[in-house]
Amino acid sequence: MKRLSIMLCIVLMFAMSACSSSNTNGQATPEPKTETDKNEPSGEKKVIKMLHWKQDNINKVIESINKQFEEKYPEYKVEYTTTAPDEEYKQAMRSRITAGDLDIFPDLSGMRLSPKDWTPGAKVPDWQQWIDAGLIADLSNEAFVKNWNANDIAQAGTYKGKVYAIPAGKVAMSGLFYNKEIFAKYNLQVPKTWTEFVNVSETLKKNGVIPIAMAGKDIWPLKLPVFSLQAQILAGGDQSKWIEGVWKGTAKFNDPDAVEVLEKMKTIQDNYTIDGFMGISYNTLPSYFASGKVAMMPNGVWEAPTVAAANPNLKFGYFPLPGTEDPAKNNFLVGKYDMTWYVAEKGPNKEGALKWLVFFSQPEIYQQFVQAAGFLPTMDNVKTNSAFLDNEVMPYMDRFQLAYEILMINRENVGEHLAAEGVHTEFLAPGGPFRSAKELADVQQKEWEAAAPEK
């Protein structure tokens, strides 16, 4: 026992010394910290606290931009913290905003889901609560806002006539990556209708090629191809009208068009997707496609740099999932604004955060970002510099639409089969408990009605 206590003491002393040395540039003390970094010549640095989620290509370019920023403004130091994506990021973002422990952070999409006059009792989104509580800086009068495309700022960064956020890019996410060599080998064309798509998949299957890989373990990746079906099929191709309809009671989740969406997704999941896809997690998905194990992968265009990095020799293209029999109706991509920057009003260093955003808003800096991120630029005169985006994605962007999850506004306390603005095809058999699309649709309609606000 003596040995143990001695050991513990030694260890504690070590740790204390390690701790106190790191405390010199640490945060254990309250005041806005004056940092002395041994590698830097000297001087006091003002820390800008930036939070982000882990996504390798984007993290790298932001780190490089931060470095350039620190070179230009040596008085600042950007503390760039990353968490796991999605839920964990949302959690970290929330608690750190609540704690006043952030200066600048991106949200996962542009402003969305704000209640409308036809949505009585809808849930108020976090960003709106934060703005209403005065936690987000008003950017309306900042000169750098003018660098950005006015329409994009209006759509994704403006609330009650004021600018609060800068969307750092647009993404398309309703299409499928396809392996051009495999397609050429079996003499396949990019499908333009649902029947053609089924035929392509059948041909692949007959030749022993698994047509599709999807990542069911994380659930949300299954939403991506559904966005395409929803935009093409709901209310004959007008999903905004359909969404207003379900609020007003003129459209239902178990109407034929909504059931058709679920059924087509079920066909894809059941017949053409790799066995065990419900156990595949999103971060392993690109390896299935990049290694040539499958011919197609429904995914957002943001994964193109990852796919290219995983297999530089791979020749791949991208096409919208065709949901109807009319090629003209299938000929567009669906997506959202991605990574929208907010500056915290009450963070420890708002001034520094604004300065960073000014720096980021310069066309030559933004150019670096958008190229590495694989986003479609939201700044005029900035090029994608990506053959993939220019040749494979841009042709479908004239009639670009926002995705269902961005347009839909949920009722508060809606059931799990409609939660998170989705229709949750993971609940369909064989993975899930519902044997047919209709069964799931009926439950969805029931849950939607049950969540209606009391009169």
């Binding site: 026992m1 040995r3 143990l4 050991m7 513990l8 260890v11 504690l12 070590f14 740790a15 204390m16 390690a18 701790c19 790191s22 540039n25 640490g26 945060q27 254990a28 003390t29 309250p30 882990k54 996504q55 390798d56 290509n57 503390e79 913290t81 968490t83 796991a84 964990e88 959690q91 970290a92 608690s95 750190r96 609540t98 704690a99 422990d101 997690s281 971060n283 392993t284 690109p286 390896s287 990049a290 990852t306 990095a309 995983a310």
Partner: protein, 278 residues
């Protein structure tokens, strides 16, 4: 008590079967940790052919373990030591009835095991401490240590149970020899409590060392990150890099296994102390 050969054989078979269920996953992880990523992709489960010791170096660097390791050592040792000390300060007078309402205090303390989950208010508490006493508030090392230390619950319960089994006469004999309260606790009682203390140490250390939920909420600055953060670095771009992740697992697990091996001979008698006597 002689057992028949058959029953002996059955016992061994059963136990060995279970040992396989317990040891095999660990061996597999260990095996994978030496593989190159390519070898892992080709043959994930086969025995490693080309041992990559450099995996550990790479994992250590990529997981930034050198930065996080000492933080976790600090959190774990500090919260463990505090826990043992304050549990002793609480358990002795309660077990002996040297304070009024000892029975009530006992109940009050062991209620810690099932009081309503305090997550919501704890978070608000840490935030308000950050405003008024930043040294022990949100995003401070000390605040997190105090949050993880506890003078109540299981460790306290075991201590009370064990102290009750130590004769009262010892207290009296010591006091006649002129031994004071504090000296008695730490010089005389403490060595007698090795088994329960060892058990308390290992249980508290496990709780702090492996905590991956608390740090996400209460330790947001990179220089405060604990070792479990390192494990997240390998959930990478082209899929989980299992060989590196397996190294990470081994790195995170090794110190506690070491501690366990060091004090395990005390643990069995300690585990029971609270159970029988309280």
């Amino acid at each position: 008590m002689q057992d028949s050969k058959i029953s002996q054989f059955l016992s061994y078979t059963l136990i060995l079967l279970l040992v396989v269920v317990y040891v095999l996953p660990l061996l597999i992880v260990f095996n994978v940790s030496f593989k190159s990523f390519e070898e892992y992709l080709l043959n994930p489960m086969g025995i490693v052919t080309d041992i990559q010791l450099s995996n550990y170096v790479e994992a250590w660097n990529q997981g930034k373990f050198s930065r996080y390791f000492w933080n976790s050592i600090l959190y774990t040792s500090a919260s463990t030591i505090i826990t043992v000390i304050i549990s002793l300060l609480a358990a002795f007078p309660v077990a002996r009835g040297y304070v009024k309402w000892a029975g009530f205090l006992y109940l009050f303390f062991i209620m810690a095991q099932f009081l309503p989950n305090p997550l919501v208010a704890q978070f608000k508490l840490m935030l308000s401490l950050k405003e008024h006493m930043p040294l022990i508030g949100y995003d401070s090392k000390l605040g997190y240590i105090l949050l993880k230390a506890t003078g109540t619950g299981v460790v306290f319960m075991m201590f009370v149970g064990h102290i009750k089994s130590i004769s009262r006469e010892l207290d009296e004999a010591a006091s006649i020899d002129g031994c004071g309260y504090v000296r008695y606790l730490f010089q005389i009682l403490f060595p007698l409590m090795k088994p329960v203390i060892a058990t308390g140490v290992i249980l508290t250390a496990i709780g702090t060392w492996n905590d991956f939920v608390g740090p996400l909420l209460y330790l947001t600055s990179p220089e405060n990150f604990p070792i479990t953060t390192g494990l997240k670095e390998f959930r990478g771009q082209y899929g989980n890099n299992w060989p590196l992740l397996a190294c990470g697992i081994s790195i995170v697990a090794a110190p506690l296994i070491g501690l366990y091996v060091l004090i395990q001979r005390y643990i069995i008698s300690g585990a029971m102390a609270g159970a029988v006597k309280s």
